[in-house]
Amino acid sequence: MTDATPAMDIRCEQLWKTYPGAAAPALQAIDLHIQPNEFVVMVGASGCGKSTLLRTMAGLEDFDAGTLTAGGQPVDGPGLDRAMVFQHYSLYPWLSVIDNIKFCRQLKAHTADRTSADVEDAAGRADALLRLMGLTHVAKAYPSQLSGGMQQRVAIARALMSRPPILLMDEPFGALDAQTREVMHDLIQHVHRLERTTIVFVTHDVEEAIYLGDRVVLMAPRPGRIDAIHTVPLPERRTQDMKLSPAFLQLKRQLLDRIRDTSGMKTDLDLLDQLSRSAADVASGATPR
């Protein structure tokens, strides 16, 4: 796994997208340059366009205006240079774990000019990924026999099979419990160091964003836009106890406050505050205003 393809950059310039019939653009003038081998996390309230932006990078969505390049080449539809991991339901339930991982070997795009060395290499690659993701003992199992965390390991291994220079991850741990998620965080960082891919990661979990990202892109909704880009002030190699460091907590608070301010949540929170204050007034016997 040392002969990985050199990582690629992704460049968005003045990217616009509006869904037909929508009041506000889903993406408004997005400018973002993601460096080769960088780990960038996009975070924000729901409806801020973070998933749309990721799916546009994957080539699964069109955009209306602007330029989008991966490794200098314009993005026009899905490509082998950009693998994607989905939140769930993307595994093939009729294939065993190992056959899911090797799925791309069934496609012409991967086997058009295949030599016997390629075939041998692919078998070795699949085995290495099984070991890397801790899946060796379930290689022959079907996805339905695995826990959610194990299923996502298979999905990540499958995406990595063809050594993609860019890995796009759409809330891949969103459906997992907190303990499993912590394990997956350390696993994906290990993968990032080893495979040297560029990773673009979408989440709604601020703590996850800071823990994983070299940079955190904070997005805001209606219209979907980039609010701010933060460079995470932590050493490159993260450990779980860094989550309690002042730098981590300060950035976490800053991001959470900003998400509250930019989403519709602000008015909801004010209303709650008002309600609890008048309830306290009633409880203390004072006349409510």
Binding site: H88, W94, A109, S162
Partner: protein, 268 residues
């Protein structure tokens, strides 16, 4: 006292599994109760033309056995399977196209929706004009009764394939046909087999209508002839035999489902 109570409640819990023995006992009860009610109704002095008892029906079935019941059942099964098979042969690829491409859906689905409301029975005289009165005509009636429903169900099965499965293949570089061949078809297979099982049942319900067309054999024809002579015991026997054949075929489909898709085990 509280323990048996909890157990009783669990038997009635929504979608919760029950012990195999209990399942079998309930299934047999469900079949036995109507039999008992039938026997009781026949014994309570009803006119045997109105309600022939199980004994009379059994005797009639035995007589029919000597008079070529197997041949009747065989030709009827052939007609049903041929009409159903022909419609599957066309409905599976067509439904796959409708479910995979919006353009094909726009072109064909409203038309199919329109035709499927037309009564298959009303096509009988037209079939006689167009196809004639041979075996083809009987197969054609069953085809008309089954095909249009089947296309729509196949299209729906195909549309239920999770988008993430399709998009995952696209990001791995799959071509359009590879998506259909390597993702949509294998993913929809279990649902498709269920659709074939359900539509096989509908095909059987068109048998009597199909054998209205110049028949001289078949279970439906026998029922129609018995009707002319008011042999209600033979009508009963014919209906029950069709039910039994249907039950047998249905069980075969379920067995095939379990054998063909082991990866579905442990998910229900």
């Amino acid at each position: 006292m509280s323990k048996p109570r909890a157990r009783r409640l669990r038997l009635m819990a929504v979608r919760t599994g029950i012990p195999g023995g209990v399942y079998l006992a309930l299934a047999l009860t469900g079949l036995a109760v109507p039999m008992l009610l039938w026997t009781f109704a026949a014994l309570s002095g009803a006119d045997p033309v109105f309600m022939p008892g199980p004994d009379k029906v059994w005797m009639r079935a035995l007589a029919w056995w000597d008079d070529g019941l197997l041949a009747d059942a065989g030709i009827s099964t052939f007609r049903v399977v041929a009409g159903w098979g022909l419609s599957a042969l066309i409905a599976l690829p067509l439904g796959l196209l409708i479910g995979s491409w919006r353009a094909v859906q726009a072109l064909l689905e409203p038309l199919t929706d329109f035709i499927r409301y037309m009564p298959a029975v009303a096509f009988v005289p037209l079939v006689m004009v167009w196809v004639g009165i041979d075996e083809g005509a009987k197969v054609a009636v069953i085809f008309i009764g089954t095909f249009f429903q089947m296309v729509l169900m196949v299209a729906e099965d195909v549309r239920r394939v999770p988008m993430a499965q399709i998009e995952a293949a696209q990001t791995m570089g799959a071509t359009r046909w590879e998506v259909v061949e390597k993702v949509i078809v294998p993913s929809a297979k279990p649902a498709l087999l269920d659709t074939l099982r359900v539509t096989m049942g509908w095909a059987w319900t068109y048998l009597v209508v199909a054998e209205l067309v110049a028949s001289s054999s078949g279970l439906g024809y026998a029922i129609l002839k018995a009707q002319r002579f008011l042999q209600t015991d033979k009508i009963f026997a014919g209906i029950l035999i069709i039910g039994l054949i249907g039950l047998l075929i249905d069980q075969l489909f379920r067995l095939a489902h379990r054998k063909a898709f082991p990866w579905l085990q442990g998910r229900h």
